[in-house]
């Protein structure tokens, strides 16, 4: 492998991992608070579309990101109402939202852009960080990404620090482990869970927006292709710990990037085997063959005072 190929591989691996990292960090907080958002894929798709649309209309990718996050927060809010207040089955609600998001974004895309639109959408230019981007291999791979990618990496640190060192983080962990005890200790369980889901919505919004306006500069129907499910799996793979989750996201990103590396290196590997590689890895991971964390014991369990 030449130096250039390695740089491209590292760079595209990080780029492909970024939406999963963003969504995964949000999902981590939500799951630590006890809500498994299976709707993550639908949230990302919603954000990808809303961001693309707003950026296309206004010509400003920044407004695109904001609108994408707002749209995602609306979905997250409904997810929270259903799974926290109405105590609906979190997994079933998630699947419903994923179907709805796929239908709604496909419908709106065709109505607004036309079925086979080739319009490019104003997106973010890559930032070349002075000095650092001159380093061979690592420079072009890591320090020539879009601004949103750096925000993604910052959010990993923010999420980790928040869970570990803030009172909000403590409350999240308490609610996810034992909602009843947390309630007795005076923590507003439902509020914390709402905030956890909304945090996941915000980051999934950034992740979805990254896909459409920072990575591909276009929207395609069903463009997340299961990235949300990968993010959920990354949280489980990472044993509900921030840095391990980041590692899992990177692994998935690089596994996906192999699809582009293999043909470039004339490796005769079937595309299908690379397509399923992240999911096979994830399956092995959750089956516990690569170490296993303990899930928050209140995960997916609805909480109601006095029941």
């Amino acid at each position: 492998m030449s130096e250039d190929q390695l740089a491209v591989f590292l760079g595209s691996g990080l780029r492909l991992a970024m939406p999963i990292i963003l969504a995964g960090m949000g999902e981590l907080v939500s799951q630590r608070a006890g809500v498994l958002n299976l709707s993550l894929d639908g949230m990302m798709l919603t954000a990808a579309f809303a961001a693309a649309w707003a950026s296309w209309v206004t010509g400003s990718p920044v407004i695109g990101v904001l609108v994408g996050v707002m749209a995602c927060l609306i979905v997250a809010f409904f997810q929270a109402i259903l799974s926290v207040t109405l105590r609906a089955n979190q997994l079933v609600v998630g699947i419903g939202f994923n179907i709805l998001a796929l239908g709604a974004t496909t419908f709106l895309y065709r109505e607004i852009f036309g079925p086979l639109s080739r319009d490019t959408i104003p997106g973010f230019a890559k930032l070349h960080i002075p000095g650092l981007s001159e380093i061979p291999v690592i420079g072009p791979a890591l320090f020539q990404q879009t601004g949103l990618a750096y925000i993604g990496l910052i959010m990993v640190v923010v999420t980790w620090a928040m869970l570990k060192y803030t009172s909000f983080g403590l409350a999240v962990r308490a609610v996810g482990e034992d909602p009843r005890a947390a309630d007795k200790a005076g923590i507003n369980v439902k509020l914390i869970r709402y905030l956890g889901v909304l945090y996941a919505g915000t980051l999934a919004g950034l992740g979805g927006a990254f896909m459409s306006i920072a990575d591909s500069n276009t929207f395609t129907e069903g463009m997340t292709r299961g990235a949300g499910y990968l993010a959920i799996t990354a949280v489980i793979f990472g044993g509900w710990a921030p840095w391990k989750t980041l590692g899992a996201c990177l692994l998935f990103g690089f596994a996906t990037a192999l699809q582009f590396l293999a043909p470039a290196m004339n490796l005769n590997i079937p595309v299908a085997s690379l397509l399923m590689l992240p999911y096979v890895l994830a399956l092995f991971a959750i089956a516990g063959f690569v170490g296993k964390g303990r899930q928050p014991s209140g995960l997916t369990l609805a909480f109601e005072r006095g029941r």
């Binding site: 259903l82 609600v93 419903g96 998001a101 419908f107 065709r110 499910y229 085997s273 399923m276 399956l283």
Partner: protein, 365 residues
């Protein structure tokens, strides 16, 4: 979930209505009607004419003898997946992997039909591929069950992952000439398998009527509905499943092999999915393409959810979604209204039913 009928059949309510409908019937029906009305409202927002769209929709569903038959054929696959769903759900397992189970079933049925089953006598030619498909689906579902009972993996996650593994596998099989891909005549040909031999196709239900696409899958589906209904409600096995679903620890203490029952329930659910896949290939499509399962698994899941655990509910849901799908395809082709409208309605139905579960259960207990 227990004894829903007690409240209103004993007449202990102050009002006496002539027709008592349980909440578990009212809510899904109401959700479906509202979601469909919303779908119509969405069509009204597009450039296409509503009457034209509805006309195309109606025509696609029941416009001709052929369309009716095709809709019922769709319902058969959806119903089988739905039956699998309620089977696993009786043990409190949520099988969302119907799509992958269909894919594996269809792939193995095609492989069996193309390599070996074609010349077998006594109907074995079409029965063996169906069995292969069923076993493949059972393996795919059973794997999730095994992960659940031995490693404690949530079956929702594992069945989803297995779906994302199954779909590329099918793509692989039709893309590789060493596997199922038909020998290429031109480079641009889409990857697909050869057409399966005539003897391996499902026999038609009305062979004398060339206009009717109905195949004997219908009989199989009817038998499956009755069998599942009886097994779940009237056999010790059904009771055991429910016990394991309610409390695994307690049922183990009562001497049940709860881990094995979980694997078995998931395998049976997967087997229904695999059979649905085999029937889709052998009954109508006759060759394998990489995306032949296109959403049937997820539609079947919705059917299972709608039915609230009743085999008759599955029949109603499957017919509804089978006809809806036919209608939406016709609507897209003839009236240029995106079929995604139906997807939106389906998503709303699932969310509405999940969200109202709290009210349904409150009325019941």
């Amino acid at each position: 979930m227990t004894n829903k009928s007690a409240l209103w059949s004993e007449g202990n309510t102050p009002f006496s209505f002539k027709f008592h409908l349980p909440m578990k019937v009212i809510v899904p029906v109401l959700a479906t009607v509202v979601a469909l009305l919303l779908g119509v409202a969405l069509i009204a927002c597009t450039d296409s004419s509503v009457s034209e769209a509805i006309e195309a929709f109606w025509d696609g569903m029941v416009g001709s003898e052929y369309n009716i038959g095709a809709s019922i054929n769709r319902s058969i696959s959806l119903g089988l997946v739905g039956l699998g769903f309620i089977f696993a759900n009786r043990a409190n397992l949520t099988n969302v992997g119907g799509e992958g189970q269909i894919a594996i079933g269809g792939m193995l049925a095609t492989a069996m039909a193309l390599h070996g089953a074609g010349n077998l006598p006594f109907g074995l030619a079409f029965i063996l591929p169906m069995l292969a498909g069923t076993l493949g689906g059972a393996l795919w579902g059973g794997l999730a069950g095994a992960l659940k009972s031995w490693r404690g993996i949530n079956e929702v996650i594992s069945t989803l992952l297995l779906t994302f593994i199954a779909l590329p596998l099918v793509y692989w099989s039709v893309e590789s000439v060493h596997l199922l891909r038909k020998p290429m005549t031109q480079v641009s040909a889409l990857p697909e398998s050869m057409i399966i031999p005539d003897a391996t196709k499902l026999p038609m239900l009305f062979p004398s009527n060339p206009m009717s696409p109905l195949h004997i899958g219908l009989i199989l589906a009817v038998i499956a509905v009755i069998a599942v209904g009886i097994v779940l409600s009237r056999t010790p096995f059904g009771l055991k499943l429910r016990a394991v679903g309610l409390n695994q620890m307690a049922s183990r203490r009562a001497g049940m092999r709860s881990g094995f029952l979980v694997v078995l329930a998931m395998a049976i659910a997967g087997g229904f999915g695999g059979l649905a896949g085999a029937i889709m290939i052998q009954g109508q499509q006759y060759y394998l393409t990489s995306d032949f399962s296109s959403g049937y698994g997820f539609d079947g899941l919705v059917v299972g959810l709608l039915s609230r655990g009743s085999a008759w509910g599955v029949v109603v849901g499957a017919l509804l979604f089978g006809f809806l799908r036919s209608g939406s395809i016709a609507m897209e082709i003839m009236a240029h209204v995106p079929a995604a409208v139906v997807l939106i309605s389906q998503g709303l139905i699932v969310i509405a039913i999940a969200g109202s579960a709290i009210f349904m259960d409150r009325k019941a207990s």
